[in-house]
């Protein structure tokens, strides 16, 4: 088929594509114009064009700032721990849900598992305080009434890490199962039947059929996750963190918030943003390369 006839026949599909393309052009490519702020002594009363070029001075200042390294370290640490703790959770949940035979129970548990995803972090923060606080949290009240010392879930850095990670699992694991469950429907049922006839146990079937069937999805999600290693959401560490655990809870996003929006040093904030983008790109490409080498599958 000639390209022009093809285009004419399916013009509606291309038309539909305009909206997402426009989205990327306006919200993802348009703002890149502002990247130059990283190389300018940005004064927002003069605008981007009116501000003077300062070359790499902004980068020098950021790379001399010890808070930058501390927040970078925390970002990587929280993300890596999150990857270890939170990444397998939806996978395991999805497999468990998939094995459930009673449809009503499956539907019900899925719904219950999704709900935390729709609660904003601000509210979760309030809940966390009410549950884990040492003086007013109900876990500690119970614990203390049994005659133990209160556990500083929120104010001791190491305990805080656990609270942070488990809250993350609670909030996102249910929602994360969706992609896996979708992928699971694509696995040929006959494989399971054949395995059952051959006498494979349930664990064997999961190991030899389900997991290999999910492999492309797992790899895709892993690569995306690795690409986000140096970026971290703002709300979770900001809301759950507090002054007492700032040595762990202060991350790049809260750092950018502080120097950018609070102190008005937009140049430095942009430098950090640009740094995150570049490192993120390296991570994605690296992970993709490694995945292609080892499993033959990648996303690019």
């Amino acid at each position: 088929m000639k390209t022009s006839t093809y285009l004419r026949r399916y013009w509606q599909l291309y038309f539909l594509l305009i909206l997402p393309l426009a989205y990327f052009a306006i919200f993802k490519y348009g703002p890149m114009y502002g990247v130059q702020i990283a190389f300018k002594d940005f004064n927002f009363f003069q605008g981007i064009n009116g501000s003077e070029w300062i070359g790499w001075d902004g980068f020098r200042e950021v790379f001399q700032n010890q808070d930058f390294y501390r927040t970078l370290r925390n970002t990587l640490m929280l993300n890596i721990l999150d990857l270890i703790v939170s990444f397998p959770a939806p996978l395991i949940l999805a497999i468990m849900l998939y094995e459930v035979k009673a449809l009503w129970f499956k539907k019900l548990s899925q719904t219950i598992l999704y709900i935390p995803h729709f609660i904003s972090w601000v509210i979760i923060g309030g809940i966390v305080y009410q549950v884990f606080g040492t003086q007013s949290g109900f876990i500690n009240n119970l614990w203390v009434s049994m005659g133990f010392q209160p556990i500083p879930f929120l104010t001791d850095p190491n305990y805080w890490l656990i609270t942070y990670l488990l809250t993350g699992v609670w909030q996102s694991a249910g929602w994360g199962t969706i992609l896996y469950l979708a992928a699971l429907t694509g696995i040929n049922k006959e494989l399971y039947e054949a395995a059952e006839v051959d006498g494979a146990t349930r664990m064997r079937r999961i190991w030899h059929i389900t997991l290999p069937g999910l492999r492309p999805t797992i790899i895709t999600l892993l690569i995306i996750n690795l690409g986000n290693m140096v970026t971290i959401g703002f709300e979770r560490p900001y809301v759950i963190g507090n002054v007492a655990v700032q040595e762990y809870s202060d991350v790049l996003s809260t750092f950018v918030y502080r120097i950018g929006l609070e102190s008005g040093q937009y140049t430095l904030a942009t430098v950090v943003g640009l740094f995150q983008a570049v490192v993120g790109l390296i991570f994605v490409l690296g992970a993709n390369f490694a995945a292609k080498k080892t499993t033959g599958e990648g996303i690019l």
């Binding site: 539909l16 004064n43 009363f45 104010t155 002054v243 700032q246 609070e262 102190s263």
Partner: protein, 537 residues
Amino acid sequence: MKAYSGKKWMKGLTGTMLAVMLAGTTVLAGCSSSGSDAGATTADGKSVLKVEVFDRGNSPAGSTITNNYLTKLVNERFGAPNKIDVQYVPIPRSEELQKLNVLMASGGDVPDIVFTYDQGTFNRYAQQGGLTDLTDLLNQYGPNLKKFLGDETLAYGQLEGKQYAIPGKRSVLGKYASFIRQDWLDALKMPVPKTTDELYTTLKAFKEKDPGKVGSGIIPFGMTIEPAQSELLLWSFIKQPLTDEQKYTLSQKLGSRDYPILLPGFKDGLKFMNKLYNEGMLSRDFSLDKDKKQLGQDIQNGKTGFFSEDADNPFYAGSSYENLQKNDKNAVLTPIDVFTNNEGKHIKPEYAPNGLYIMIPKSSTKAVEAIKYLDWMASGTNVLDMQNGVEGENYTMKDGIPILKPDAPADVTNRIYNYGDMVIIANGKIVGTEEQNNEAYIAQIPEKYQADMRKSVEISNTETFPPINFNKPIDSEAKYGSALQDKYDQLVVKATMVSPDQFDATYDSLLKDYMSSGGQAILDERTKAFQEGAYTK
């Protein structure tokens, strides 16, 4: 290729998509055009003046933050005769600085009148050339405003001889008092503590004997990370007398407060907090209490024995004291003056005589109207009417002081629910002389608490010292201020919470972190400014 069979469905969908896209483009177009000629005139030829207003999310039913009794009053009395439509732009109180930075950066959309309490931010805007020079405008259009504020207040808005901000006038300068549960003292047959040592003994007795029968949740000393709870304690440990040089160079101004972080004795203050914490006297989760919410709850639930606070805070209708007495009718809070320094004095910081820094962005084309608006507010009875409502309905005049009517119905009292955020040229009720202002300050408290309030205000005005002022901006404070505020909180929290044997190591490492994150730069700049004599005594 099944999907293509449903042609009708596709047609319908493309139609919808087209509509959505068109709507999208109009919205976008709308955005870009409103930026350039924002609020020039309304349809009926009135000039539009946009004024920032803090939104605390407390608008009563029937009012909104942009449309209420006071906004109508402004538009009737000022707007109509001057052919100006005054519109209010709400900014959430808790994020004012962040939102203000974003608004200023947006250029065209910024209101014509903006404000902040943060001196560093004002300095930065002025130095970056973002503010209108008001010197001549004020002389030409603001005679009432000048008279109302006075030269001393106006000086706070000047940089290098030019008036870049109109500082609000603060009516009451006293800040803090401390409060103790009198009924607990009585139950223990103990006197009201008068010194820090006596306070410690009292707190210990509260903890051990639990006179309020609170149980394990007892909090002898209520603490938060807000300065109001720790400032009195910390300043009382600063070793007096200080030389001028120490005073000016060893404290640091972050936001709008002087912190005594490098002054001799500060470490001892923290050490005392550490001792209190480790002996179970302080609120255990005080590091989580950023807005005094937990403190308020603990007070009204009768768990807290002692705390320091803004002198007026516990006494308002619906505030912690009233709720405490609802929960326990025998509970009594007494204002006390307790923290003693090495000279035996109860020293306390006080406010600078200015409130908000009111600014007119350079991009505004309505500077004249803006000054006219502020001048109108300062003239006649406008401040009185906006702060107190209607005479005979909201208040009655007694000896020149408006006394709020305690039996006024809610819809009447609601008229002025946000007067503090609307009357930006004044911080607190301005009636006349300092004494009258103090009386008006007390008169706004429910009658049953006025005697206590009077005592508390008296304490807050006793042995106070004013904030420190250089007559040129300390740039590094504007630059590092908010980051250092975090570091300061961290220092206080961590040094308080560690076990006593780790106190020194923790203090040293956090102070080092503080200094290298900008503290040293501020110290150097202040030392230099002091040596140049650039300070006002």
